[in-house]
């Protein structure tokens, strides 16, 4: 049984590796009579990527320890049912006579409950396993085939250590607004919604709107109303010292796949410890009326020993992208900073009164 199982997994890995190694046909104009022509196209004959899309999924970015590359359909359904059951369970009425929650927290994790948490009805993390090429994926990362980020280079390791040291010595994590995460400052979303790469955040608002014109592709990420403008067929990125948030993106068509290359990332937008030589390559292929397969490659040989990447299904949605005016309602950041100051004052007073 074990032998058959490992043989099956190895076979799956080969299939997966082969699938990843395939490169899309380049420079070909769309040809009539193929299956691709049944997909919607814009006036200039290109695949139409427009609309509203969601990349929410329960499949994590990194492969869990011990998981194979794909689930069976039965396993995927069981996972999804588990999620639905959890949602239902957390929706049940509470005891109206309940007291205040326990001192020190209730030990739960995730968005539901506990200190700073809230009811599960606020979140919408996705309810489906990611399906790509008919496979129920156990991770979004598929390159390398083990579904995990490759090792750091020596330089990457040194940089990570230097960052950790700086973090340790610069002062308390609540000393200044600049020490808080970008999302808490309402500068970018948590996770990497706009990126690139454009990844789900496993909480909510994983929605995007794509508009396609002759010269540009515009991608709006709901959080934080971030607009990526991809310049089609441009020939050069800006000089190295020009570093906007979300970098600078140049796009071109390779057959029916939109290929986007992004460099010049903002110095504060450090994707998983990447260096300033980071280049992200994205490939958008509309595979059916309701799905764009989004493949991303992280190319930063200063930081990782090899390029790596993954595949994320973006599913069409009839839902609207709503305004996410974050900064305008950001009481939380003020509360966090004033809270730290209040606690310091309390501690100082206690010390004085001893």
């Amino acid at each position: 049984m074990l032998h058959r199982c490992t043989r099956a997994i190895r076979a799956l890995l080969v299939v997966l590796a082969t699938g990843w190694a395939l490169t899309p046909a380049s420079g070909q104009a769309p040809s009539p009579g193929t299956a691709a022509t049944t997909l919607p196209r814009t006036a200039d004959g290109r695949p139409d990527l427009q609309g509203t899309w969601s990349n929410a999924t329960i499949t994590p970015i990194d492969r869990p320890e011990g998981a194979p590359p794909v689930y069976t359909e039965a396993q995927a359904r069981r996972l999804e049912r588990g999620y639905a059951d959890r949602v239902e369970r957390l929706a049940q009425p509470s005891d109206p006579n309940r007291t205040a929650p326990p001192q020190g927290g209730d030990g739960s994790t995730g968005a539901a409950g506990n200190v700073g948490g809230y009811n599960n009805f606020w979140v919408d993390p996705g309810d489906r396993v990611a399906v790509v090429n008919g496979q129920y994926r156990t991770s979004l990362i598929v390159d390398p085939p083990n579904g995990r980020v490759p090792a750091l280079t020596d330089a990457g390791r040194r940089k990570a250590a230097a960052r950790a040291e700086q973090f340790r010595t610069r002062g308390g994590e609540y000393d200044h607004p600049e020490f808080r995460p970008l999302a808490e400052r309402c500068l970018m979303s948590f996770g990497s919604n706009a990126g690139p790469p454009m990844l789900p955040n496993y909480f909510y608002n994983n929605n995007y709107q794509i508009v396609q014109t002759k010269d540009h592709v515009m991608i709006l990420a709901e959080m934080v109303h971030d607009v990526r403008i991809i310049r089609m067929n441009a020939t050069a990125h800006p000089p190295a010292h020009i570093r906007p948030w979300m970098g600078d993106s140049i796009g071109r068509w390779e057959g029916d796949t939109l290929v986007v290359e992004t460099t010049n990332f903002h110095p504060l937008q450090v994707f998983r410890g990447a260096s300033d030589t980071l280049k992200v390559i994205e490939r958008f292929t509309r595979v059916d009326a309701d799905t764009i397969v989004y493949r991303f490659t992280i190319d930063d040989l200063d930081t990782w020993v090899a390029p790596w990447g993954g595949e994320v299904p973006f599913r069409r949605t009839d839902e609207q992208v709503f305004e996410y005016a974050c900064h305008e309602g950001n009481y939380a950041l003020a509360n966090i900073l004033s809270g730290a100051r209040a606690q310091e004052r309390e501690a100082a007073t206690k010390k004085q009164n001893r």
């Binding site: 329960i58 994590p60 990194d62 869990p64 011990g66 998981a67 194979p68 069981r78 588990g82 999620y83 949602v87 009425p93 509470s94 109206p96 309940r98 007291t99 205040a100 929650p101 001192q103 927290g105 994790t109 995730g110 968005a111 409950g113 506990n114 200190v115 700073g116 809230y118 009811n119 009805f121 606020w122 979140v123 919408d124 993390p125 156990t138 609540y174 995460p181 808490e184 948590f190 955040n201 909480f203 909510y204 608002n205 709901e222 009839d318 839902e319 609207q320 305004e323 005016a325 974050c326 309602g329 950001n330 009481y331 939380a332 509360n335 966090i336 004033s338 809270g339 209040a342 606690q343």
Partner: protein, 147 residues
């Protein structure tokens, strides 16, 4: 069978772990040593991002206090067909949570926010008590017409 369950369990736990890491630090704003239970009528709703705020008036002895309770993003609720008017001013609610670290502020996170009968507020628009999970065919989402 056992291996399947193991893999499934690993998947669920891994995702739950990812979720905790991905969101902002939950413990940053609120004080684990200051649990509260609030009961009172809603006086104001701030339907804003990044967090909705429900303002409620509680009675403390002879005095009245207005507390602000932090929730999640309203965008999730809008997609379920809920609007700000779904929860009306004057509705009595029960909140349990933790006060902000700054105790001079009457603010707390809405760890669990319910009506006085214990039902969660802001459930699915069909009122079945369950959020939209695709299993209730009568539940619809308000969709803007065309684009």
């Amino acid at each position: 069978m056992r291996r399947t369950m193991l893999l499934v369990c690993a998947g669920v736990l891994a995702v739950a772990g990812v979720r905790v890491a991905a969101h902002h630090a939950f413990g940053a704003e609120f004080d684990p040593n200051a649990p509260v239970r609030l009961q009172g009528k809603i006086v104001r709703l701030e339907w804003v991002n990044p967090h909705t705020w429900i303002h409620m008036e509680i009675t403390k002895g002879d005095a009245k206090e207005v507390w602000a309770v932090e929730g999640g993003t309203p965008n999730t609720l809008l997609r379920r067909g809920l609007t700000r008017d779904t929860l009306t001013i004057g509705t009595e609610i029960i909140v349990d949570g933790y006060q902000t670290k700054d105790h001079s502020l009457k603010r707390a996170n809405g760890r669990d926010v319910t009506f006085t009968d214990g039902r969660k507020i802001f459930m699915g628009s069909s009122g079945t008590g369950a959020p939209r999970d695709g299993r209730d065919p009568t539940e619809t989402t308000k969709k803007p017409g065309g684009r």
